[in-house]
């Protein structure tokens, strides 16, 4: 899932300083699951904004609405009634949703209420870790199911580097060395010979600008 983190309310208040009526737009997708942008968080932010503006003697009306996802236009359309009423929108969806919402809400501006962090696994309540970098060419078959692009600090393909010690990355003791993990995993799978195989240079897949995927056999006429 996409993991996001709330922006500071101070920053958000600065973005909406000129407005008197705004909408906080939440999403029941990834951002709800990572406890940052669902209906609850929308409620908390809305309350904070009202109270802060009340204190400065510049009251603001704050509408709240959450939809299934902000990465599909049909769901974004559900916001339109409220968008018509307001001067600006703060979206708590990931960067994808914020941008798509900004597109359909034009000329009403849409501001980001969160910082999109990474693609990660939800290890436990309140704990997420980056597992994938959407590099476009998965090598998990060669590395026992552990990604060297996302989880190695230097995204080495023939690691580890000399800084791996006690299974930890040189960058910080709390960071596991991905290649150490790969080594242990390949050992457990009986595939340690893969460790000695040379993995050639990577195609970083940015040749056509921002990536696009079109499945011709599925597009509508």
């Amino acid at each position: 899932m996409i993991v996001v983190e709330n922006k500071s309310t101070e920053d958000i208040l600065k973005m909406i300083a000129p407005y008197k009526k705004v909408l906080i737009a939440g999403c029941y997708g990834c951002v709800t699951v990572c406890l940052a942008g669902g209906e609850k968080e929308v409620g908390l932010l809305a309350s904070q904004i009202r109270m802060a503006r009340e204190k400065e003697g510049n009251p603001i009306e704050v509408l709240e609405q959450t939809v299934e996802r902000q990465c599909d236009k049909e769901y974004l359309d559900k916001f339109q009634d409220n968008v018509r009423e307001v001067e600006a929108v703060v979206s708590l969806a990931c960067g994808i949703g914020i941008q798509y919402l900004a597109q359909v809400c034009e000329p009403v501006p849409v501001y980001p209420g969160v910082n999109t962090q990474f693609l990660g696994a939800n290890l436990d309540v309140g704990v997420w870790e980056e597992y994938c970098m959407a590099c476009g060419e998965c090598v998990l078959d060669k590395t026992g199911g552990i990604c060297p692009v996302a989880r190695c600090s230097k995204h080495l393909f023939n690691g580890p580097c000399g800084g791996s010690q006690d299974g930890k990355c040189e960058v910080d003791k709390s960071v596991e060395c991905a290649w150490h993990l790969i080594y242990e995993r390949l050992k457990a799978l009986g595939q340690l010979d893969k460790m000695a195989e040379y993995i050639p240079v990577k195609n970083w897949h940015r040749n056509e600008g921002p990536r696009k995927l079109v499945k011709e056999d599925l597009t509508l006429e």
Binding site: N158, C161, G162, G163, Q165, V171, V201
Partner: protein, 312 residues
């Protein structure tokens, strides 16, 4: 000991020493963080005739320093042989190959291929760590240039650079059993010579060399042991605890702590270690890296009985 005698691939001074079966000795000068060759000029003179070639680190610890290629070029101008270091952190394959063309045209012949310390350690921690290719892929790329005459993309290079290809290895990294496998991977990719991380725990290094000899790695590449004179016990302890990937034996620290003259003891330790390396099977030479103490190199080399250096 170095008993190999082999054909020359490149013809650099370092390669000639190693290929003739003699025990090699290289030095290192750390480039400064400002735009001046003054320290290079000074230390180069001190090392002239005392070492076979001199390493120049490449933005060591991710701190901006005078670049390795510029320093190497300076050494060429002074009539000595440099070892150019190239890290994967700062350049993509385009920039690297471009730099190699220029370096070779200037007369540089030895290149060390390294991953590079993570940018988090340095003075520009938020910068983008490039890592377009890793050190093993870099070795492979240089071998292709030299032996196949083509760039990484496969296109022909009319006058390809032909380097004596080096790599680093850390005998103290984890997992220990894997280190020899990794070195083999680099040698398979094309590494001609190896400089190890500085050895401050002889027992562990001996075990590492046993693993390498078992795999016959010493017959395929020249393995040189890193030697670092550590001038204070405090520095030794710091390296024991504060530097990732570094193992320092208790004995090493204690000898410095108990000595009356730590600096003299440091030299003595280095000399002893060099002598042990000369006896050890599979070790073809030593690389003396006296960090922030370059001036001590001539003394160490002399006391270890490595002078005079061979000439051709």
């Amino acid at each position: 000991m170095n008993n190999r005698k082999s054909e020359l691939k490149v013809g650099s001074n370092l390669e000639k020493v190693l290929a003739s079966g003699q025990f090699a000795c290289t030095g290192e000068i750390g480039p400064v963080t400002y735009a001046s060759f003054a320290n290079i000029d000074k230390h180069a003179e001190e090392m002239r005739g005392k070492v076979d070639s001199v390493n120049f680190t490449d933005n060591q610890t991710a701190v901006v320093r005078l670049s390795s290629w510029a320093a190497s070029l300076r050494l060429i101008q002074l009539g000595m042989e440099p070892n150019l270091q190239m890290v994967c952190r700062d350049r993509n394959r385009l920039a690297m190959q471009s730099d190699f063309l220029g370096a070779y045209a200037h007369g540089i012949r030895n290149v060390l291929c390294l991953t590079g310390d993570h940018q988090a350690f340095g003075n520009h921690p938020g910068c983008k760590g490039v890592f377009d290719i890793d050190s093993v892929q870099l070795i492979h790329m240089l071998k292709r240039l030299r032996d196949d005459g083509c760039f990484e993309c496969g296109a022909e290079c009319k006058q390809p650079p032909k380097f004596f290809i080096g790599c680093a290895e850390n005998p103290f990294g984890d997992p220990f059993e894997f280190r020899a496998i990794r070195l083999e991977k680099k040698i398979n990719a094309g590494a001609d010579f190896v400089q190890t991380q500085c050895i401050l725990d002889m027992e562990r290094f001996e075990r590492f060399m046993e693993m390498c000899v078992e795999r016959g790695l010493h017959d395929r590449a020249y393995i040189c042991a890193g030697i670092m004179p550590v001038k204070s016990p405090k520095m030794a302890r710091y390296m024991q605890h504060g530097v990732p990937g570094m193992i320092v034996s208790e004995e090493f620290c204690q000898r410095l702590e108990k000595a009356e003259d730590a600096k003299a003891e440091a030299v003595q330790l280095s000399v002893e270690y060099i002598k042990r390396c000369q006896e050890m099977k599979g070790v073809a030479g030593v690389h003396v890296m006296a960090v922030a103490w370059e001036s001590i190199v001539p003394s160490v080399v002399e006391k270890a009985g490595l002078l005079p250096r061979p000439t051709f």
